[in-house]
């Protein structure tokens, strides 16, 4: 049994690790540079390159600024990540958590489609505007609830999802306009002049100085809210200020080179796991490690680039290196209780009788009827009956059936995961299963010029099982400790995501197929798929409520669960397996955008379903309603074009969830 005891290391380990990575990065860079230009010429090339010597020009305008940009970006993200994790008190917090990149991406996509001139004027300003706008929205919501970590993270997550979904929708509809943004999304630090360095250096320096000034008050913040305020720290202002700083740091980096997601999560985490516990140490070491890591990766990318026909985006490749490193360090993660639960009880009130399940059932039936009978044709709206219905039903009924079943499964999977991990932002996505399936589909596209559905399903299934096997293997070693599970899932997701993003960045026309699939479409559903899903879903949906009693007790924590005689290892294994299989089954048919799995459980709770059983049924019904409605809307709104159901679910679910977040402040 692993003991919940902090490893008695000193920060020496962290310093050593950061130093090792930095020196390795330096040596590799020097070797790489020496290959390009004899060291004797370095000085001249750096200051005054000879215009006739291409090697010197490359050294001056490409290699050097690229090296510096990589370091600056890694450092900026490392610092931002350390701030995020500290302020939000969540080891999973990263720039992505607050939707910074998603906001920047959305404004860039909108600009690319509707105002390309803006991108020419300043891509940076467009990106920062998006990032800041998103943060402002998140702060506006969070300020209603005293900037609690939970609200910030939850709002950030859903707003990020919303922006991401909207970006994908716009990209799907305007593919040709946005190919360059796929490169941006994969994060490339390639340079051809000094503009990025000139842009980043002063901004990040100022950010670093501000962070240094904040160290003392931030240290106090490590205490819980009550103690910190009793020590005279104005928590709200401090939290908002520190977050704004982290957001800006991220926005600068992102606007300059694109999305480099993993460093912000991994660098502070690695520093922490290797023994740096003091905030001060973490704030110094995280940027150094982050910078070193990114330089290292970028040098490796450049070295490998000569052997690849294809372009390797550094940001995406980073995850390939960072994720295994994080996985390796994970077992040392202290499974100390987080303060998540303290916030949650405020989110539900007693006395409100849950709306009867029959009411939800009624809503679901109404949604299904609407989705099946009401639709648009080239001649306008129509209510299909009789013969017309007979011709339309083979198209509509399987889609609605698949959306319904997938929504129900995701809703339940979300409840299982949120209760298992005691983390309200856990959703089926974090398991990394969706990405596993996506990778399977990607492989099908690579190995076959014309992948049929059977091949796609088979490889998707293989991907899901591969991820599941890895989760189980890691899980058994950590007795399925929730934090470990989440971080393993996130590391896996990042790893697989990197491969996907690289593929998209290449500009391969097949990418559009992948993009459509990733957006979560019921498009490919036919009767056989619907029956297959039905056969898988029904036993799972019936079996899951049998775990209700575990799900009630598990959120009380390990001690209380053990006290009450819950066999922790077995209970967690069963819950995780159920969640995984539910997720895999739904991801296979509607793609990896599992928003119903996040919003279903939350809405069920908000509507007064406090106990696990109620919440499971409620989340399943709500998930089903959401997906059916989303599928219908996706088919109707921009007819004859169609938006995937998973995407629309995010687009309609998010505003509703945010509205609830701002409302239930009492």
């Amino acid at each position: 049994m692993s003991l919940p005891v902090q490893a008695s290391r000193t920060r020496g380990g962290a310093v050593g690790l950061a130093g090792a990575i930095l020196s390795l990065a330096l040596v590799l860079s020097a070797l790489q540079l020496a290959r390009q230009l004899p060291p004797a010429l370095w000085f001249q090339a750096a200051l005054q390159p000879s215009a006739d010597d291409v090697r010197q020009l490359l050294f001056h305008f490409s290699a050097l600024p690229r090296l510096m940009t990589a370091f600056l970006c890694g450092a900026g993200l490392g610092l931002a990540g350390a701030l995020f994790q500290h302020v939000l008190r969540n080891p999973l917090a990263s720039p992505t958590t607050l939707g910074v990149e998603a906001g920047a991406q959305l404004t860039l996509v909108m600009a690319a489609i509707w105002a390309p001139a803006l991108l020419g004027a300043s891509r940076e300003i467009v990106a920062i505007a998006g990032a800041v706008a998103v943060t402002a929205l998140i702060f506006a919501v969070a300020s209603k609830r005293g900037f609690s970590s939970l609200t910030l993270v939850l709002t950030g997550l859903v707003v990020g999802l919303f922006c991401g979904a909207l970006s994908v929708a716009l990209k799907l509809l305007n593919q040709e306009y946005v190919t360059s943004l796929f490169i941006w999304g994969a994060g490339s630090v390639a340079q051809q002049d000094w503009s990025a360095v000139a842009y980043l250096l002063p901004r990040l320096l100022i950010g670093g100085i501000v962070a240094a000034l904040l160290v003392r008050p931030l240290t106090v913040m490590a205490l819980d809210d009550a103690s910190a305020s009793s020590l005279g720290v104005s928590l709200q202002a401090l939290r908002a200020g520190a977050l704004l700083l982290a957001v800006l740091l991220t926005a600068f980096v992102t606007s300059a080179v694109g999305v480099i997601g993993f460093i912000g999560l991994a660098a502070p985490q690695i520093v922490r796991l290797s023994g740096a516990r003091q905030l001060q140490d973490r704030l110094i070491l995280s940027p150094l490690l982050g910078g070193g890591l990114l330089v290292l990766v970028d040098q490796a990318v450049q070295a490998a680039g000569d052997h690849f026909a294809d372009f390797l985006p550094t940001g995406a490749v980073t995850a390939l290196f960072g994720a295994p490193l994080l996985l390796w360090l994970l077992p040392q993660l202290r499974s100390a209780g987080n303060d998540w639960a303290t916030d949650i009880h405020a989110t539900s009130r007693i006395g409100k009788r849950p709306l009867g399940f029959s009411a939800f059932g009624g809503i679901l039936i109404a949604a299904v009827l609407m989705a099946v009978f009401l639709g648009r044709t080239p001649d306008g709206w129509s209510l299909a009956f009789g013969e017309e219905f007979a011709t339309l039903a083979p198209w509509r009924v399987p889609r609605v059936a698949v959306a319904l079943l997938a929504g129900a499964m995701l809703g339940m999977a979300g409840v299982l995961l949120q209760r298992l991990t005691r983390n309200p932002i856990a959703s089926p996505e974090v398991l990394g299963i969706g990405t596993g399936v996506a990778l399977g589909i990607l492989v099908s596209m690579v190995i076959s010029a014309a992948p049929g559905r059977a091949l796609q399903l088979a490889l998707g299934l293989a991907g899901a099982f591969a991820v599941l096997a890895l989760l189980l293997w890691r899980g058994t070693r950590a007795r399925f400790a929730p934090d470990q599970l989440l971080l393993t899932g996130i590391a896996l997701s990042a790893l697989l995501d990197a491969i996907m993003v690289s593929f998209l960045a290449l500009g391969d026309p097949r990418a559009s197929q992948l993009l459509a699939w990733m957006a979560g479409s019921t498009y490919r559903a036919d009767a056989s798929l619907a029956w297959m899903t039905f056969a898988i879903a029904v036993p799972l949906l019936l079996a899951t409520p049998l775990t209700s009693r575990w799900l009630d007790i598990l959120p009380l924590g390990d001690e209380a669960s053990r006290e009450l005689g819950v066999e922790l290892g077995a209970a967690r294994l069963v819950v995780m397996l159920l969640a995984s299989v539910l997720t895999a089954a739904s991801v296979l048919v509607v793609g990896p955008l599992t928003f119903a799995g996040l919003v279903g459980p939350h809405l069920a709770r908000v509507l007064g379903m406090r106990r696990a059983f109620e919440q499971l049924i409620g989340a399943a019904l709500l998930g089903a309603v959401l997906m059916v409605a989303a599928d219908w809307l996706g088919r109707m709104v921009i007819f004859p074009f169609q938006l995937p159901a998973g995407l629309v679910a995010a687009l309609i679910g998010v505003p509703y969830l945010i509205w609830h977040l701002t409302r239930r402040e009492r």
Partner: protein
């Protein structure tokens, strides 16, 4: 090892002999983590129908002792047995039917009412899938009545005051209907009146239900007043063990707490009262 088989035999066996005179005992059990000995090899036996108080200053190993007994951690060595069977041989629920444990920091209860929390105490009996029997309901009702939590049975636990919350958790333990209850500083968050209330409840349960109560207690006078036997720990080892009368001497207390102490008699009850000089 044929673990499932062993487990089954242990349960049947415990079912027969986990009765009124069953004993929770440790023999040479100790715990060290990364070279630090948190508890030296310790041998102790606890019987039913008595209240045991574990005293000692911070870091003396009190909580560790309790966690080992409650099977929250495995000992580094030595044996811990219930009714003669090593506790690790019990199934999770079987053990919970015999020994209940209240941690020092009760967890945050995510939107649970008091009644729902108390019902959790029946989990060891009905398990994840078993039917909730009338007997389960009876135990829940009785536990709530004993712990006097009925007035706020339908309020959220997290909205209660410290004393009410503590009583709700004790009610859950009572509903568990185990032979032993282990409590880690059950009174630390409570005001005087509530301390008295909880300890009085535990003592009367011990008498009326023949319950073995083992509690880590901070307040030496409370311990002396409500316990049948006190166990004093120091630096992870038992320093002294005996009735309150044996322990409540200035030299013994000085040894246990490491500061000069004095003991006087209560002017009315004649009970010994210890205080720092």
């Amino acid at each position: 090892m044929n673990a499932p088989f062993r487990r089954r035999t242990a349960e049947t066996f415990a079912g027969h002999s986990g009765g009124a005179d069953a004993v929770l005992e440790m023999e040479g059990a100790h715990l060290s983590i990364e070279g630090h000995a948190l508890l030296q090899p310790t041998s102790l036996a606890f019987g039913r129908g008595r209240v045991y108080g574990i005293i000692g200053h911070n870091g003396s190993g009190k909580s560790t002792l309790l966690k080992l007994l409650a099977r929250q951690m495995p000992p580094s060595g030595g044996a811990i047995r219930f009714a003669g069977t090593p506790i690790q041989d019990f199934g999770a629920r079987a053990f919970a039917r015999h020994v209940a444990y209240l941690p020092q920091h009760t967890p945050v209860t995510t939107s649970l009412t008091v009644r729902e929390l108390v019902r959790f105490g029946r989990y060891p009996w009905h398990g994840p899938l078993g039917r909730v029997s009338p007997e389960d309901h009876r135990h829940v009702a009785e536990a709530m009545s004993l712990a006097q939590v009925e007035p706020f049975a339908d309020r959220l636990v997290d909205t209660l005051s410290g004393g009410e919350r503590q009583r709700a958790w004790v009610a859950m333990l009572v509903a568990q209907n185990s032979g032993f209850i282990l409590l880690d500083e059950p009174t630390s968050a409570l005001d005087l009146a509530h301390q008295m209330e909880v300890l009085r409840l535990l003592r009367s349960l011990s008498r009326s239900r023949n319950l073995g109560v083992v509690a880590v207690l901070h307040d030496i006078n409370m311990a002396a007043r409500f316990c049948d036997e006190l166990i004093a720990l120091q630096k992870g080892a038992i320093r002294m063990r005996g009735t309150p009368g044996d322990i409540m001497h200035s030299d013994v207390l000085e040894m246990v707490y490491g500061i000069p102490m004095e003991v006087i008699r209560h002017p009315v009850t004649e009970a010994p009262i210890g205080f720092a000089r």
